[in-house]
């Protein structure tokens, strides 16, 4: 998470009304004979960002990326990169480079030839090509593998070469299509941070497609959640996780407890919701979106923000429900408690394992209180 904190320390360009977006996508639509892959997407990405498009497979994120690269022609809408309209510009003339999911290294060329390929197309002098190839191979720590063929490299090494081959062109925008999907878990976690470091080093704007929310959370400066060809929410990892704007986003990123209810009272900064699934008690929610009295809404609360205890909270401000422990999922660092309420509804609560398992205070079939602060729950109308 070290990499992310560095991002947060930077001035956030998306909050600056004067800042012009570096990549601007305007009402972009892709229609494959009636089936709409990308639906009226408008998106701004700023210079130096590592933007992640996150969504399930088939949500249109790859199509959007391929339209940025120029492999697919949009049905309507426009793409501007650094202020220049990209419509009608073929892929080989765009200031954009792509790292493919399969890496797409040229099998008949060695590492050096692969990396030099893009520069040769620019007809640069040989000495300059060699210098830039060496620099970029040093950056990805692959200088010793210059003469290898792609089939003689491991998955992680191929990934570095694919990255180097794109970076060496010094594109205005680098696109990454699930760049780490083919790596095993340990290597993937290591490479995530490396990729962020390289991105900060070279200062090129990255747009990355991912279906792995952890990957997006770790790496991205901002995340765009996509579903059914639309972008549902754009925000920093924290915003997406803590303030999801819809049921879809809150369910997609992490796990969440969700209760349906009806708004009973509405004040300036909080609402009272009565939920039949929470034993007809009143729940206080801090809210940003306005919900009229009588409206049907959902309340969402992350499991780690639900405190589990054998005693009721002393503070009256907490929302509190009572239940019986049904299941305990032990994950080593944390345990997830499945608590069944009187009406049969299961609520999840995650607690850090402060004690060794034998001394755990809460056991199966214990009667427990679950409570959380109103400001930690989210009111969702969509």
């Amino acid at each position: 998470m070290a990499a992310k904190s560095r991002h947060l320390n930077k001035i956030e360009p998306w909050h600056d009304p004067e800042e012009r977006p570096y990549v601007y996508i305007e009402n972009l639509t892709k229609d494959y004979d009636g089936s709409i892959a990308v639906d009226e997407v408008t998106l701004s990405v700023y210079r130096g960002e590592l933007f992640s498009l996150l969504g399930r497979s088939g949500c249109g994120k790859s199509t959007l990326l391929r339209m940025l690269a120029g492999f697919e022609i949009p049905s309507s809408g426009r793409i501007y990169i650094d202020g220049i309209d990209m419509s009608g510009i073929p892929p080989h003339r765009r200031p954009v480079s792509m790292v493919f999911q399969s890496y797409a290294l040229f099998p008949h060329m060695n590492v050096e030839q692969n990396v030099a390929f893009g520069l040769k197309q620019e007809k640069l002098p040989k000495s300059q090509i060699n210098e830039r190839v060496n620099d970029v191979l040093e950056l990805v720590q692959m200088l010793d593998f210059k003469k290898r063929k792609p089939h003689q490299l491991s998955g992680g090494q191929r990934q570095r070469i694919a990255l180097a081959r794109s970076l060496v062109k010094r594109p205005k925008l680098l696109l990454l299509d699930e760049p780490l999907a083919a790596l095993d878990k340990k290597l993937r976690e290591k490479t995530q941070l490396e990729l962020v470091n390289i991105q900060e080093e070279v200062g090129i704007t990255f747009i990355m497609v991912s279906h792995d929310q952890e990957e997006a959370m770790t790496m991205a400066s901002r995340i765009g959640i996509m579903a059914d060809g639309r972008i549902i929410q754009v925000g920093t990892p924290t915003e997406i996780y803590e303030y999801p704007n819809s049921k879809y986003v809150s369910n997609f990123v992490g796990t969440i407890n969700m209760f349906e209810g009806v708004v009973m009272e509405e004040e300036e900064n909080y609402a009272v919701v009565r939920s039949s699934v929470l034993d007809e008690i009143n729940i206080m929610v801090e809210h940003s979106t306005s919900a009229a009295i009588g409206a049907h809404v959902s309340i969402a609360i992350r499991p780690e923000k639900v405190v589990i205890s054998k005693r009721p909270p002393k503070d009256r401000n907490y929302n509190c429900v009572k239940g019986i422990v049904q299941d305990i999922v032990y994950l080593g660092d944390v345990s997830i408690y499945h608590v069944e309420l009187a009406n049969g509804r299961i609520v999840y609560s995650t607690a850090t394992n402060l004690f060794r398992i034998a001394e755990r205070p809460i056991q199966w079939d214990d009667e427990v209180y679950l409570y959380w602060l109103p400001e930690n729950s989210i009111l969702l109308t969509a």
Binding site: A104, F117, Q121, Q141, K169, G203
Partner: protein, 281 residues
């Protein structure tokens, strides 16, 4: 572990089945007798006679020329057809096109030969082309046959290739034409070479199609061999066969050597020490 005697003898039988006939031909090519099948004494006699046999040598040369033309044209057309089939997602009549390309595979040679003969005669009557039958008509006939094989070979190779390598090249700034020559062609080169060799062989040993569409000026080697059977087979054929086998063996050996050396692994090198990041820009 000791290998079973049964398996070893089966292996020996398999090799014998394939190669003993070839060794017989090679052995009998040095036979002094004028009968093809009876051994008398060792001699280079038939190699001398072969060197003076203009008909046989001309036919060989003609066959080689036809085979080379056939192979080259088939590979070019076959590669284009394969690209159309594999790389273009939809076009009207695609399945019809695939079927038509493959049809000569199941067509008996006699039918193809006869229909081509009729076509050539008809065309000659209508526009005065291709005129007298000869190397040209034989080459066309051979191309119709080998094109289906070549297309099938290149098509299956092309389908295996990740099309994103072509996109990657395009993305790195190569023009579509350059991508085709620098990325696509090298990627399918093995299929192109094997397609070329296969159609060369198909053309070189075809006798049926050639009998229908060749003219008096151009006979191919298989036709000469075939017709000479009627007048009694001359041991010259053994000598010729031995020369062909020899040339082919050398070619295969060279190809094998090149393939072996180009795919040999570069020895493992130790990974470099972690270096500090250096700015690109």
């Amino acid at each position: 572990m000791k290998r079973s005697k049964f398996l070893l003898s089966m292996l020996a039988f398999g090799y014998a089945f394939m190669y003993v006939p070839l060794f017989c031909v090679i052995g009998f090519s040095f036979n002094g007798s004028k009968f093809v099948t009876t051994w008398s004494h060792f001699s280079f006699k038939w190699y001398h006679t072969l060197a003076q046999n203009r008909i046989m040598l001309d036919a060989t040369l003609n066959s080689l020329k036809i085979a080379c033309c056939t192979a080259t044209v088939s590979v070019v057309l076959g590669a284009l057809a394969a690209i159309a089939i594999v790389r273009f997602k939809r076009f009207s009549g695609k399945s019809f096109f695939i079927g038509m390309i493959a049809a000569p595979l199941i067509m008996p040679d006699v039918v193809t030969g006869l229909s081509l003969l009729l076509l050539f005669i008809g065309m000659n009557n209508l526009f005065g082309w291709p005129g007298e039958h000869g190397s040209m008509t034989v080459t066309i006939a051979h191309i119709t046959l080998s094109l289906s094989y070549v297309t099938a070979i290149i098509q299956s190779r092309l389908a295996e290739i990740d099309s994103s390598i072509e996109e990657a090249a395009l993305d790195l700034g190569a023009t579509p034409t350059k991508v085709f020559f620098v990325i696509t062609i090298p990627a399918i080169s093995s299929a192109i070479i094997s397609g070329w060799v296969l159609s060369f062989v198909l053309s070189f040993d075809d006798v049926v199609l050639a009998s229908f569409v060749s003219g008096p000026q151009s006979t191919t080697l298989p036709m000469v061999v075939f017709s000479s059977i009627r007048m009694g087979l001359s041991p010259q054929i053994n000598a010729l066969t031995t020369i062909i086998i020899g040339v082919l063996t050398v070619c295969v050996a060279i190809a094998g050597y090149i393939i072996y050396h180009s795919s040999k692994r570069i020895p493992q090198k130790s990974k470099g020490e972690g270096k500090h990041w250096r700015s690109l820009v």
